[in-house]
Amino acid sequence: MTDTQTAHVLRGARPLGAEPVDLVLRDGRIAEVVPAGTADAAGARVVDADGLVALPGLVDLHTHLREPGREDAETVESGTRAAARGGFTAVHAMANTAPVADTAGVVEQVWRLGRAAGWVDVRPVGAVTIGLEGQRLAELGAMADSAAGVRVFSDDGKCVHDAVLMRRALEYVKAFDGVVAQHAQEPRLTEGAQMHEGPVSGVLGLRGWPAVAEEAIIARDVLLAAHVGSRLHVCHVSTAGSVELIRWAKARGTDVTAEVTPHHLLLTDELVRGYDPVYKVNPPLRSAEDVQALREAVADGTIDAVATDHAPHPVEDKDCEWAAAAMGMTGLETALSVVQHALVEPGHLDWAGVARVMSVAPARIGRVGDQGRALSAGEPGNVVLVDPAARWTVDPAAMATRGRNSPFAGRELPGAVVATFWRGHATVLDGALAQPRRSGAPGDPAGSGGDPWSG
């Protein structure tokens, strides 16, 4: 008897924060949605969801799982455990591994590791250019046609700064409904950049990363995407000016989507004053005005998705002087709490809005067909139960990720993931990791051309 076979009755859960119902998960799907207290629990495990909000399983568009190559920082196993604990049922694994995920072989390896781990859907992101070097296109079609079924392509960590190459990539991925996810960073304007360029960088004597270096690339790329009629996704938008450009592009009908990280919704460059590298990240923490503009952009839909940019690093890469430290922050296990704190509590989003930016939109952008769906009968059993009344203090040592580099360490945050169900299987119960899911269990999607579950 495996847990996968167990039916679950989520008693009294509030779908997207609405009135309580019973959700019955069976055979990998949401079998029934019935009035609270009325579901037949015979043969099922009952989860007391009184007071808990039910959301579709979260989908992360931007995760660094580090495997292959930097297993000292994170593995697919440890990273996907962290994802499940954070309420995710799918993550997009970024391509900047070693070797780079720029061939069908590497993306299939990552995809298989994810499948073997059994905590979430691992959707590999393919590199746009060979070795992330910005010189020649990687075999995007081979990655799209592989068992991994890649739809999102990104040189994340590096910008596809050559305008011709970016144009070609945007055009080429139209053949398989792909999207180019751009890390918008003009390289010459950011040589040696250490933090946001502004009054704080001037005082600290740290070389600045100006907002214009992000905005100039976004401006070019939305014009290119409009010109060739392709789909563009902008990674980790961090400035008010970027928001304005994306708003303008959307208003004139360009097919552009954008994501923002939880840390850019809460933290500012003022934190750098102590030179603690836990706050070193790319793009850098910006000003309070940028934070406000980003929150409003999520509220009005200009920014489509919240994506973690979860970037674990070994302790020694952060326990050093600022200039020597690696850039990046962990985020999978704090994302939902930060969103509740930064967007829900100030009134920018309701829980339906959280489902939109953390599940529905990212699944649509990444073309993850069976994720980000409604919480209704017949849909895939991807559900996360959140206790919005909980408060907890962030302790990186207690996390599932190998990374200890959480910028929220020591902060009290609202909201806790109580349970995560991936294809009807409980990956998290009572706030703790349960059992991984075996592939081939009920709920696997039916076979199709790029079906990951046929291999």
């Binding site: 001037g202 005082v203 004597g205 740290l206 600045g208 326990d319 050093c320 600022w322 200039a323």
Partner: protein, 315 residues
């Protein structure tokens, strides 16, 4: 005062006290026996991750004249990304029982990490970090200015620099001296004007407690002191300015420009100088120049800083 990391760590009272103690140190340096017993049995480590002969020698002399045991650790080359990490170096020094660490490092903020990351209990004294700060340089500048512009060439015990007008000319963007000087001289009541081409001023400089000018000739009028900052020629390659000649024409201190200053005004330079670039030999060696005296004042100021950090509570 637990550490001296930034000129902003000093209140007006603390800064004046430090200058007063430095005056006492100058007094002791006139004696035949220059050595004081104040730090006998204490260990001061000079940790230099960057070449700086003059600052290192100045700190060594200061610590030795206070009878401290001095260990100098020149770790040039093991800076960012290679060799032993800053943390391991700090743990080693901690194990050796350093009471104070004087640190020069190419990375801005390295002294902050040393002081605050929990690697060592030593007092940390910033001897210049990247393009951030160099607080003892600002203290010796303030000391020199107080002597000449307030004390008439001698001590002005208890006084600050209220009302003095000081110009700082040159590569502010990359200058740790400029940052510390602006903070300290402002704390002491002086009015600072930064003069530089716009490319060599940091974004956000308008929020600093000083005035900013692009026009040296206009800014010189009425200054009590002017300081030229070192300009590195390689900045030219990064398009901060078109040529050395154009820089000198627009921002170099020469005899003609010094003649625009009031009679009593003095000239400073933190060294090492690029004669012919930011300052002419004629200006550097002229009657207004206090550049050589800055060096000797440096020892007195660093004695005062070490004394207040290590023996301050007993004083």
């Amino acid at each position: 005062m637990r550490h001296l990391l930034s000129a902003a760590d000093l209140s007006r009272e603390e800064a004046v006290q430090l200058l007063d103690v430095a005056e006492q140190m100058v007094g002791t340096q006139q004696r035949e026996i220059k050595k004081l017993p104040a730090l006998r049995g204490r260990t001061v480590v000079n940790l230099f991750f960057e070449d700086s002969t003059r600052t290192r020698i100045s700190f060594e002399a200061a610590a030795k004249r206070l009878s401290a045991d001095v260990i100098t650790f020149s770790a040039k080359g093991s800076s960012v990304s290679k060799g032993e990490s800053l943390k391991d170096t700090a743990l080693t020094l901690e194990a050796m029982g350093a009471d104070a660490v004087v640190v020069r490092h190419p990375a801005s903020g390295a002294p902050h990490r040393l002081a605050r990351a929990g690697w060592t209990r030593s007092a940390v004294l910033n001897a210049g970090d990247g393009t951030h700060e160099h607080p003892t340089q600002a203290l010796l500048d303030a000391f020199t200015l107080r002597r000449h512009l307030v004390g008439g060439g001698g001590p002005a015990t208890g006084a600050d620099l209220a009302g003095l007008r000081v110009g700082i000319v040159g590569d502010v963007l990359h200058s740790r001296v400029a940052r510390s000087d602006v903070l300290l001289l402002h704390t002491l009541g002086a009015q600072v004007t930064l003069v530089a081409p716009p490319t060599l001023l940091p974004v956000g400089v308008e929020s600093w407690p000083c005035r900013v000018s692009y026009d040296l000739d206009a800014a010189l009028e009425g200054l009590d002191a002017v300081m030229a900052l070192r300009v590195q020629l390689e900045r030219m390659d990064a398009a901060f300015f078109p040529s050395a000649r154009e820089y000198s024409r627009r921002y170099g201190l020469d005899a003609r420009r010094l003649a625009l200053l009031p009679e009593h005004a003095v000239l400073l330079h933190p060294g090492p100088m690029n004669r012919g670039l930011e300052i002419t030999a004629e200006a550097a060696d002229g009657a207004r120049s206090r550049i050589v005296e800055q060096v000797s004042n440096g020892v007195a100021v660093r004695m005062a800083a070490l004394y207040l950090l290590l023996a301050g509570e007993d004083a």
